[in-house]
C-alpha cells in the first residue's frame, strides 16, 4: 500500500502516487462546504508540486463559493497569524512540513489560526466521505485575490513582540539552513529587523530539497560545517514550512532537536510562570524545568492540534514538542519557527552566554529515536501485540504505548504523518536508552 494519511493532521501523501488532484479537489470542496463560504487563506511551501496542489485547492474552494486570499509561498505560522489578523474564516496550508519533497499535504486552519481539532477534523472527514459538496451557482462562485504583504505584516508584529533592542545591540551573526523551503525571504526580513548578520544556506526555491528537511541533529551536517568557519553565534535549521527549528551551537555542534523547546521553556518560564504543555514523547528535561519553576507540565497525544488545544484550555505560557516546535501563548497559538529563532537570539543577547553554555546548563538525558517502516494496515495491530510485554509496568495508552520508569521511559507509537512506527526511549544513561529501543524494535518487527 502506498503512503497516504488522512487524519487530524490533514491529508498527506506522495505526489504522483496517492496525493492526486481529484482527491485534493474533494478535500477543498469538503473544507469549503464545512466553512459555508467566506474568505479562506491559502499559502504553500516550495515543493515542485505546489502549483498542482494549489490549483486543485483553488478550483475546489471557488466551486463552493469561498473567496480566496492567496499568500503565495508562505510559512505556515505566518498563514496562521494572517488568518487571525485578516479575520478570515479559515485557511489551508499546502505543505508536508518536514517530510521529504515528494510528499505534500493540506493542513486545515480555522479562524483563530489554530488547526482543526480532533472533532472538527472528524466533521470535515464526514463531509469528505459523504461527497456531497456545496455547489455555488455561476454568479456566486468564489473569487481569488493575491496578498503580498503577509510576511511584512507578520514580521512587524513579531518584532514588536520581541522588543529587539538588546538583540540589535549585540550584532549577532546567524547561520540559517532554509533547506530550500518557504522560510528564506521571511528569515531575511527577520534577521534584518533584528540587526543580525545572516548567512543563509539552501535559500533557492528548487522544488526538491537538497537534504532531508526534518530539523534533527542528524540533518545538520551542512549547517554545522558552516557555523564554525564563519564564526556564527548560532545556527538554525528550518523545515519546509518553518513550524520547526533545530539549533546548532557556535562550535558547530548540532543540538538534539529536543533542545529547542527545552531552552525556550527555561527562558520563558524565568520571566513568566504558568503551565507548560508538551506531548508524551518529549524529553524529561521538561519535567525538570517545570519542577524548577514550580509549574504544571501537561502531556498530550502527539500532534500540534492536541498541544495547542491544551495550551488554550490550560492557559499555558508555552507549549512545544521535542521535534523542535514551540508556541508561546502571548504571541500566537501556533508552532512558530520565527518566534523560536527570535527568542533564542534574545536569550543569547540577555544572558550574555554562548548557545553551547546555555545547552550545558540543561539537565542531561540521552534520547534514542528509531523508525520502523510499516504498512498502515498492520501498524496499529503490531503496536497492540507488543503491549503485553509491558503489562506489569507503569503504562500509558493515550497515544500508542508509553512506559515510564524512574530514570527512563519508552514510547512506541504510530506516526501521524507517515507509514512508520516510532520508538523513542530516554534515560540518564545512553546504554539504557539504546537497550530499551533495541528490544522494542525487535518486538515490533516480530509482531509485523
Amino acid at each position: 500500500m502506498q503512503p497516504l494519511k488522512i487524519d487530524i493532521s490533514g491529508v498527506r501523501g506522495v505526489v504522483g502516487e496517492t496525493l492526486l488532484p481529484e482527491m485534493i479537489v474533494n478535500f477543498a470542496c469538503a473544507y469549503g462546504t464545512y466553512m459555508k463560504s467566506g474568505k479562506i487563506g491559502i499559502g504553500y511551501d516550495t515543493r515542485a508540486s505546489r502549483e498542482m496542489v494549489k490549483s486543485a485547492v483553488l478550483s475546489g474552494l471557488i466551486s463552493t463559493g469561498c473567496d480566496i486570499v492567496d499568500f503565495g509561498i508562505c510559512p505556515t505560522p505566518i498563514i496562521q497569524y494572517m488568518t487571525r489578523h485578516l479575520k478570515l474564516k479559515g485557511a489551508i496550508a499546502i505543505t508536508a512540513s518536514h517530510n521529504d519533497s515528494n510528499w505534500n499535504a493540506l493542513k486545515f486552519i480555522k479562524s483563530d489560526g489554530t488547526f482543526l481539532n480532533f472533532y472538527e477534523g472528524e466533521e470535515l472527514l464526514d463531509i469528505y466521505h459523504q461527497g456531497e459538496f456545496f455547489k455555488a451557482a455561476w454568479d456566486r462562485l468564489g473569487r481569488v485575490s493575491e496578498y503580498d504583504d503577509a510576511i511584512d505584516i507578520y514580521m512587524g508584529r513579531l518584532c514588536r513582540y520581541l522588543q529587539p533592542g538588546k538583540i540589535r545591540a549585540k550584532k549577532l551573526k546567524v547561520a540559517v539552513d532554509n533547506c530550500n523551503g518557504a522560510g528564506g525571504r521571511a528569515t531575511k526580513v527577520l534577521m534584518d529587523k533584528l540587526g543580525c548578520k545572516l548567512v543563509l544556506i539552501n535559500e533557492e526555491i528548487t522544488g526538491v530539497f537538497s537534504h532531508d528537511p526534518e530539523p534533527t541533529a542528524a540533518n545538520m551536517e551542512q549547517l554545522s560545517s558552516v557555523v564554525r568557519p564563519i564564526k556564527a553565534d548560532v545556527g538554525f535549521m528550518l523545515d519546509a514550512d518553518v513550524d520547526r527549528v533545530a539549533v546548532c551551537t557556535e562550535k558547530g555542534v548540532p543540538l538534539s532537536e529536543e533542545y529547542t523547546f527545552a531552552l525556550l521553556a527555561d527562558y520563558i518560564l524565568s520571566k513568566k510562570r504558568g503551565p507548560v504543555v508538551t506531548n508524551l514523547s518529549t524529553s524529561m528535561m521538561l519535567d525538570d524545568i517545570a519542577g524548577k519553576y514550580g509549574v504544571k507540565l501537561v502531556r498530550t497525544k502527539i500532534g500540534q492540534a492536541y498541544i495547542i488545544e491544551q495550551m488554550i484550555s490550560e492557559k499555558g505560557v508555552i507549549s512545544g514538542e521535542g521535534s523542535g516546535s514551540v508556541a508561546v501563548g502571548d504571541f500566537q497559538h501556533a508552532s512558530d519557527g520565527f518566534l523560536a529563532m527570535g527568542l533564542i537570539l534574545k536569550m543569547l543577547a540577555e544572558k550574555k552566554k554562548k548557545v553551547s553554555q546555555l545547552a550545558e546548563m540543561l539537565p542531561r538525558y540521552y534520547m534514542v529515536k528509531r523508525k520502523i517502516k510499516c504498512s498502515p494496515e498492520v501498524m496499529y495491530s503490531a503496536i497492540e501485540k507488543v503491549q503485553d510485554y509491558y503489562k506489569a509496568e507503569n503504562i500509558d495508552l493515550t497515544d500508542g504505548i508509553k512506559v515510564a520508569w524512574k530514570d527512563h521511559w519508552l514510547h512506541i507509537r504510530a506516526s501521524n504523518t507517515e507509514p512508520l512506527v516510532r520508538v523513542l526511549a530516554e534515560s540518564t544513561s545512553k546504554e539504557k536508552a539504546e537497550e530499551l529501543c533495541d528490544t522494542a524494535v525487535d518486538r515490533i518487527k516480530a509482531a509485523i
Partner: protein, 460 residues
C-alpha cells in the same frame, strides 16, 4: 415532464466529440474537469499545453482544475489568459505545443462552461481523436507525475498580437485605413472585449465599442442571430456608423449589421467573405450541407466549386485542408480563412468584410442587396432519440426520386428550394432547415416538411 424539460435536463452535461460541456453549480464540477484535464494530459503525453478562457465568471474555477490535472499528468500548462478561441488555436500550432484546452461554452448562456480540446496542429480534435481521448478518460488510468518531474505554469501574453498580425498581414490595411470607417462592435462582454476595439483601431476605424466589459455577464443571448442584435442596431442608427459587427462569447462567429441598423443575417457573413476572397483568389469553397445556396451562386459566378460537408466545424475544417480550399465556413457566422488558420475566426471575418467594403463604392447594405437573395426557415420537432433516425430514414424513402443527399441526415435539392432534415446529436429533436428564393415558397416547403414528419412520426 414535458419534452422540453426532459431535453434541458438531459442537456445539463454533455461529454462528446466536441469536448465536455455543462452547467456550473450543477453538472460541471471541478472533479470532472480535473479528470478530463488529466485524460488530455495523458493523451498528449506531456509537453506544453496552452490554456485560454473566455470571460465567464466560472473561468478561474475551471482553469485551476485544468491546471491541476495537466500538471499532475506531467504537462507544462501555458496560461494565455482571456483570449478568443481562434487565438488559442493559432498559437497552439506555432508554439511547438502538444495541444491546447479552450475553456469556453461558446454561444451558450453564462451559467454554462466547457472544455474544447485542441491538437498540436491547432485544430479541434476530430471524431477519432476525440474517441481516443474519451477512452483514456473512461479508463481513468492517467499518467501521474512525481514531484521531481513536475512542471510549472507559464504565462504567454503574446498570443493575441500573434493572431492579429496573422490577419493584418493578409489584408490591405492601408486601403481600409484610408476609408476611416466608423464601426460599432458588440463583443457581448466576451473574449473579444479587450481585442476587437484595438484590432479595428489598427485598421484606422473610429470604433464605437458596445459590451466590452470582459466580465462574462452577457447583456444578451450571445448567439449572434438577428433577435439578439437590437442593442447594436440602435447604436448604429444614433451614432451613424458605417457598419456593425457582433461577435459571440469566444469570438469565433461573426454577424454583420448594416449602416441602417438592419442585421444582414448571420448566413450572409460567409457569403460576403466568399464573394470577396474568390474575387482575389480562385479556388474551392467548403461549407456544410445547411449553409445557404447563395454560396453556390457566388462560387459559380467566380467559376469555383463548392464542397459540402457534414455539419460540425471539424468536418468543414478537415475538408478545407484536404481540398486546399481558399475560403470556407458555416452559415452561423463562422468564417474560415485558411490563409490565416483553418478555424472559424471573427477577426478574419471582420478584416475580409472591411477590405470588401473599402474596395467598393457601395455601402454595406448595397453590397448585401447585390448578393443572391434566399429565405431560410429553421425549426425542429421533438422526437425520441431512438425514433429520430428511423423517422429520418423514412423521410428519405418518401423523396427517393429526388436524389436525396445522405451525408448527414437527408438533404433534398429541388429546383427552387432545398430541405434538410437531420436528427440532432445532442438533443431529442429532429432539425429542419428549408431555403427558397422567396419567403412564401420557403414557408410552404417548411409546412409541407413538418407535415411529412408528423405523419412519419405517427407511423413509427
Amino acid at each position: 415532464m414535458k419534452g422540453r424539460d426532459v431535453a434541458d435536463k438531459k442537456q445539463s452535461l454533455k461529454i462528446g466529440i466536441s469536448g465536455v460541456r455543462g452547467v456550473i453549480g450543477d453538472s460541471l464540477s471541478p472533479q470532472l474537469l480535473v479528470s478530463f484535464a488529466e485524460a488530455f494530459g495523458s493523451y498528449v503525453r506531456g509537453g506544453k499545453v496552452l490554456v485560454a478562457t473566455d470571460t465567464r465568471t466560472s473561468k478561474d474555477m475551471v482553469k485551476n482544475a485544468v491546471f491541476a490535472g495537466l500538471l499532475s499528468s506531467g504537462c507544462e500548462p501555458v496560461d494565455l489568459g482571456i483570449c478568443p478561441v481562434p487565438t488559442i488555436l493559432i498559437r497552439t500550432k506555432y508554439a511547438a505545443a502538444s495541444g491546447g484546452i479552450a475553456i469556453t461554452a461558446s454561444h451558450n448562456p453564462s451559467q454554462w462552461n466547457a472544455l474544447k480540446f485542441v491538437n498540436k496542429n491547432g485544430l479541434f480534435l476530430n471524431a477519432n481523436q476525440a474517441e481516443e481521448l474519451l477512452d483514456v478518460y473512461h479508463q481513468r488510468e492517467f499518467y501521474k507525475c512525481a514531484n521531481s518531474d513536475m512542471k510549472k505554469i507559464r504565462k504567454d501574453d503574446g498570443a493575441i498580437d500573434f493572431h492579429m498580425e496573422k490577419v493584418l498581414c493578409r489584408i490591405d490595411v492601408d486601403r481600409i485605413r484610408s476609408r476611416k470607417f466608423k464601426v460599432a462592435v458588440d463583443c457581448c462582454n466576451g473574449a473579444a472585449s479587450l481585442v476587437s476595439p484595438a484590432f479595428l483601431e489598427r485598421l484606422g476605424c473610429r470604433v464605437i465599442p458596445v459590451n466590452v466589459e470582459p466580465n462574462g455577464i452577457f447583456p444578451h443571448d450571445p448567439e449572434p442571430i438577428p433577435a439578439n442584435l437590437k442593442q447594436i442596431s440602435e447604436v448604429i442608427r444614433s451614432k451613424k456608423a458605417d457598419i456593425g459587427f457582433v461577435q459571440d462569447a469566444d469570438a469565433d462567429r461573426l454577424a454583420v449589421v448594416d449602416e441602417n441598423g438592419d442585421p444582414i443575417g448571420e448566413e450572409y457573413t460567409l457569403v460576403m467573405a466568399v464573394d470577396h476572397i474568390l474575387g482575389k483568389k480562385k479556388g474551392p469553397v467548403v461549407t456544410n450541407l445547411s449553409a445557404t445556396r447563395a454560396i453556390d451562386d457566388i462560387a459559380e459566378n467566380h467559376g469555383c466549386k463548392v464542397i459540402r460537408t457534414r455539419i460540425g466545424e471539424i468536418n468543414v475544417v478537415e475538408n478545407i485542408i484536404e481540398k486546399k480550399a481558399v475560403i470556407g465556413g458555416e452559415g452561423n457566422g463562422g468564417v474560415i480563412w485558411p490563409a490565416v488558420h483553418p478555424c472559424r475566426d471573427s477577426f478574419s471575418g471582420m478584416g475580409i468584410i472591411l477590405e470588401y467594403l473599402s474596395g467598393s463604392d457601395l455601402k454595406i447594405s448595397g453590397i448585401a442587396r447585390n448578393l443572391p437573395s434566399y429565405h431560410m426557415v429553421k425549426g425542429k420537432t421533438y422526437c425520441e432519440t431512438a425514433k429520430a433516425h428511423l423517422v429520418v430514414r423514412k423521410f428519405k424513402d418518401l423523396y427517393r426520386k429526388d436524389k436525396p443527399v445522405l451525408l448527414d441526415g437527408v438533404k433534398v435539392d429541388f429546383e427552387g428550394h432545398w430541405v434538410h432534415v437531420r436528427p440532432s446529436n445532442t438533443e431529442p429533436i429532429i432539425r429542419v432547415i428549408v431555403e427558397a428564393r422567396t419567403r412564401k415558397i420557403a414557408e410552404q416547403a417548411y409546412k409541407k416538411t413538418m407535415k411529412d414528419l408528423a405523419y412519419l412520426l405517427k407511423r413509427s
